[in-house]
């Protein structure tokens, strides 16, 4: 309280000094008058009395100043004076002002923009009530305990029953459905969840109701809850929709309610909404199939339970389940993380990488501005000297320098906020899909506070160096140096250190950018062994109700094959359920048929259903045996083609042809008739997965990709494919038709984004470092104009002068490069996770970045060097 009143008083004293001054004057006058009267009463003459009174009182101004000091207003007033002084000085030197405010604005703006992203995604609570008590529970692969996958529903039910740490544990998963209406069919994204999940997430209905436990019972009516946005767009916000039925993939569901606006499922795999919410129906198969791990499990902790307690308890429960159900649970692990970590964990490292990079940029910015201030300071040395000689204390000079810095930083951060305000949406629009919580990013109070904090930090950072210099100023020396003679050049001491650290920081950033670029190039060079350039991929769905049964679906597929093949420029057409870059592959556990049921673990393999000419159309060579023919159909023996990796895994060193495999999920036996070449995955560091293919005629689903090999540029054909398909049946959905290069670049969005962002930051860093070197070298040259003049007059060759200056600049760069290489090596382990196909200590990257910096150093010193060589010896000597 007292502190506040003290400050209020000071504020009043500063803002309204008149009142206080006036009353003080009056008070002192009164005192002297009273004293004089007393003296008069003692018999002194009035004049004599007044004089004595004033003498006894002392100098009123002196006492007033003392009183003012006790108000503590001098500090604030000094600030006012310094601020006014700074602004005047900045106006007088607009280049300095603009350059430093611009660089600072960029540095701070980039930091604020990235921080607003980090804040929105990492730091803020999830948008669910009491989100800190939400825990993600997931099972981990037997051979990869660090990797969290989804959970098995029967296991989750047991966890919930046996644990006391959790209020509830619920499960959910996405499921694609086709909404059929009289106007046509449309794919919708639905979410299957248990009533517990609704309770845990505290979802509430806007109208109608949400799920109750009885909705979950098998055999009960199908019920559905609509997403608010979907209800608005698809049903025109009609409240009458509650109680009606909708048709999802051929089944009828009763709409029982609509969720409140903005209630979204947790962003487990990117921002992904759900149009329709359905209750989970436990089928007996699901309950038997404890090893079907297809669900996200989320629990809400009891208020008194901690994550650690829950982990211990669940560890025991999990161990018990391992023993009770060894077949389903053997070797599977259990992992508990907060929902927040589970959702943002994937992008955490990327965001910290960005934050680290912009932090480097800010440091370089500060170093640059410190250099600018130093440059100004050295031209103001005589001013400082005079002030010191006139009695300005070190504290007073310090506060003046800091005030100058603070004002620069505040102006810079104002610009920075503007840049962040513009830059954040830009970042969001550039950002790859799949980053969770992007929609929650924005500039708020925390970002403002962060920016102001940066401004203060920046002030301190770039204030230190000039302070160190200013505090050493000896008034006499400063004055004696006069205008011409200068002490040692600005190459040594603080300036040198600053430029060296700029070079080092820029180099470390550039190494990061270089490594990311090399990694991106490794992706881009991807050679799958197939022709990437003349290929179109179209994802279609014929699930319209018109095609019941495999034969009907196959028939329409064959009609579509013919229609597409009839397009001019199409060489061949094939179908597949998935493919390299297509997405959509599914895994199954496979065993050599003779090992089935012997308790072995089997091998995980991806499976594809393909049309006979799939390998030929894509261009995958058949190494042994045969590809499929139209003779492989539902009547003929069940056959499979495997890739090399799978052949080597299941039958190392043996002939796979004629062998049989048993597939756990499909519960069937197939005979191997062929082996195809491996298609290497996009990630150069990833291993090739075991893959198997079987004829679509033996396994027909109403969704498929069409693979179209074209004669020339696939672009013109791309537009015709959907029309051709719709000419057969307008209800058939064509989701995407894309050429293969577009598919590839879609997959490269994330690495490209990382690379671009870091490249932009390091480009800025490089420019700043170049400016820093230029500034220091040109000042050093200016300071030594006389020396140069004398040397040229004595016959030194101009080229020698140039070389000398350039060599000096390379010297600075050299120290910076060595330090920077060490810094980059130290930081390289942080970037390892982002690199593919290149090691974090890649010598090529390091050496080329070092060369680049030397080149910049030479370039930056060239102009000052030329200036030096053109010094007119007579003019420089006469200057004295």
């Amino acid at each position: 309280m007292r502190l506040i009143s003290k400050w209020l008083f000071r504020l009043r004293a500063t803002l309204l000094p008149g009142g206080l001054e006036e009353s003080m004057k009056e008070e002192m006058a009164f005192h002297m008058e009273m004293e004089a009267r007393k003296l008069m009463a003692k018999g002194l003459a009035p004049e004599e009395a007044f004089r004595k009174a004033r003498r006894d009182f002392g100098e009123p101004e002196y006492h007033k100043e003392k009183a003012r000091e006790s108000w503590g207003i001098s500090m604030i007033q000094n600030f006012r004076i310094d601020a006014r002084h700074t602004i005047r000085a900045l106006r007088r030197n607009p280049v300095f002002a603009i350059v430093s405010i611009l660089t600072l604005g960029l540095g701070i703006g980039a930091n604020s923009a990235i921080f607003s992203v980090v804040n929105g995604i990492l730091l803020r609570d999830l948008p669910f009530p009491e989100a800190d008590r939400l825990v993600s529970l997931c099972e981990t692969f037997p051979d990869d305990p660090g990797r969290c996958v989804t959970a098995s529903t029967p296991n989750v039910t047991d966890w919930a029953e046996r644990s006391s740490s959790f209020q509830e544990i619920g499960v959910f998963r996405w499921w694609g459905h086709i909404l059929e209406t009289p106007e046509g069919a449309e794919g919708v994204s639905s979410l299957i969840a248990t009533p517990e999940f609704f309770q845990i997430m505290a979802y509430q209905p806007a109208i109608g109701r949400i799920f109750r436990p009885e909705d979950q019972l098998e055999g009960n009516r199908n019920t559905a809850v609509l997403d608010h946005a979907f209800w608005e767009s698809r049903f025109g916000s009609d409240p009458g929709v509650v109680g009606t039925n909708i048709n999802l993939s051929g089944e009828s569901f009763e709409v029982i309610g609509v969720l409140q606006k903005g209630q979204k499922p947790p962003a487990m795999s990117g921002e992904r909404g759900a149009d329709v919410w359905l209750p989970l129906h436990f089928g007996p198969r699901d309950n038997d199939r404890r090893d079907w791990r297809g669900f996200y499990a989320i629990g809400r902790l009891n208020p008194d339970a901690t994550l650690e307690v829950a982990r211990q308890e669940m560890g025991v429960i999990h161990q018990g389940l391992l023993e009770e159900y060894p077949e389903a649970n053997r070797d599977w692990g259990l992992q508990l993380t907060t929902l927040h970590d589970r959702i943002v964990g994937r992008v955490k490292n990327t965001l910290f990488l960005f934050l680290g990079a912009v932090g480097f940029v800010l440091l370089i910015t500060c170093a640059n501005i410190a250099n600018l201030i130093l440059a100004r300071l050295s031209s103001r040395e005589s001013e400082m000297g005079i002030r010191t000689a006139l009695g300005a204390g070190t504290a007073r000079l310090t506060s003046q320098l800091l005030t100058e810095g603070l004002i620069l930083a505040l102006l810079g951060s104002g610009l920075g906020l503007f840049i962040a305000w513009v830059g954040t949406p830009l970042f969001l629009s550039m950002a790859p899909a799949g980053i969770p919580r992007l929609s929650e990013v924005g500039i708020d109070g925390q970002v403002l506070a962060f920016t102001l904090g940066l401004a203060v930090l920046a002030t301190l950072l770039f204030g230190i160096a000039p302070l160190a210099r200013a505090s050493r100023i000896r008034p006499m020396a400063a004055l004696r140096k006069s205008r011409h003679g200068r002490g040692k050049g600005p190459m040594g001491g603080i300036n040198g250190i600053l430029v060296v650290s700029e070079v080092a920081l820029a180099l470390a950033l550039l190494v990061g950018a270089g490594l990311l670029t090399r990694s991106f190039a490794a992706f881009y060079r991807w050679d799958p062994g197939i022709d990437r350039e003349h290929l179109l991929v179209a994802s279609t769905s014929v699930a319209t109700g018109s095609y019941q049964g495999s034969q009907a679906v196959l028939n329409v597929y064959r009609t579509l094959d013919q229609e597409i093949l009839a397009l001019p420029g199409v060489r061949s057409v094939a179908r597949t359920s998935a493919g390299p870059l297509f997405g959509g592959w599914e895994p199954d556990q496979v065993f050599p048929a003779e090992e089935a049921g012997t308790g072995g673990r089997g091998h995980q393999a991806r499976w594809y259903d393909v049309s006979p000419n799939y390998f030929e159309t894509l261009g995958v060579p058949v190494l042994r045996g045969r590809a499929f023919t139209t003779e492989d159909n539902s009547e003929s023996p069940m056959v499979v083609v495997v890739n090399e990796t799978m052949a080597n895994q299941l039958w190392p060193g043996e002939d796979p042809l004629g062998r049989e495999i048993w597939m756990e999920m499909h519960d069937g036996i197939r005979e191997v008739v062929g082996v195809v070449a491996d298609v290497p995955p996009l990630d150069p560091d990833a291993v090739v997965d075991a893959e198997m293919f079987w004829p679509q005629a033996q396994y027909t689903r109403p969704v498929s990709f069409f693979v179209i090999r074209t004669e020339g540029d696939p672009g013109p054909i791309q537009r015709q494919v959907a029309d051709r398909i719709h000419s057969v049946d307008p209800d058939i959905q064509v989701r995407t038709v894309m050429d293969y290069e577009a598919l590839l670049s879609q997959r490269l969005v994330q690495p490209r984004f990382n690379m671009l962002l870091i490249a932009i930051f390091s480009g800025v860093a490089l420019i700043l470092a170049g400016i820093g070197i230029y500034g220091v070298v040109s000042r050093s040259v200016a300071a030594r104009t006389r020396e140069m003049g004398i040397r040229i007059a004595l016959g030194a060759q101009r080229s020698r002068v140039v070389r000398q200056v350039v060599r000096q600049s390379i010297g600075i760069a050299g120290i910076g490069v060595v330090l920077g290489l060490a810094l980059a090596l130290a930081f390289s382990r942080f970037i390892r996770g982002f690199l593919h196909g290149v090691v974090p200590t890649d010598p090529l990257t390091y050496s080329s970045v070092a060369l680049l910096l030397f080149a910049v150093a030479v370039l930056a010193s060239f102009v000052p060097a030329l200036t030096a060589s053109r010094v007119d010896p007579m003019a420089s000597l006469r200057e004295e």
Binding site: E26, H31, E59, K64, A67
Partner: protein, 96 residues
């Protein structure tokens, strides 16, 4: 401490305060008249005294100072401290 003590008896203006200190100390203590004011401002700042404009016996406007509750507390603290110091000094002086 002296100012606080004198003001604890009654509110006074600056000059009165000066006179009162002379009087109490039997002219032993001479307060520099001018430097009284910075001291008064300092005490005001600390919140131990408060000032207000009032009228003197002969109807002149003057600035009066009075002790606040915080000031009274402070006076007790300082008085106790002074007592201890004075006793200590007296003891040292007594051992001759």
């Amino acid at each position: 401490m002296l100012i606080l003590k004198v003001l604890s008896l009654e509110p006074l203006h600056g000059w009165g305060l000066c006179e009162r200190i002379h009087l109490f100390s039997k002219d032993e203590l001479q307060v520099n008249q001018g430097s009284l004011y910075p001291a008064l401002h300092k005490l005001t700042q600390e919140g131990w005294i408060k000032s207000y404009w009032g009228l003197t016996e002969n109807n002149r406007k003057a600035r009066y100072y009075r002790l606040t509750r915080a000031g009274k507390k402070q006076l007790n603290v300082e008085a106790a401290h002074w007592d201890r110091l004075a006793t200590a000094v007296a003891r040292v002086m007594a051992t001759s």
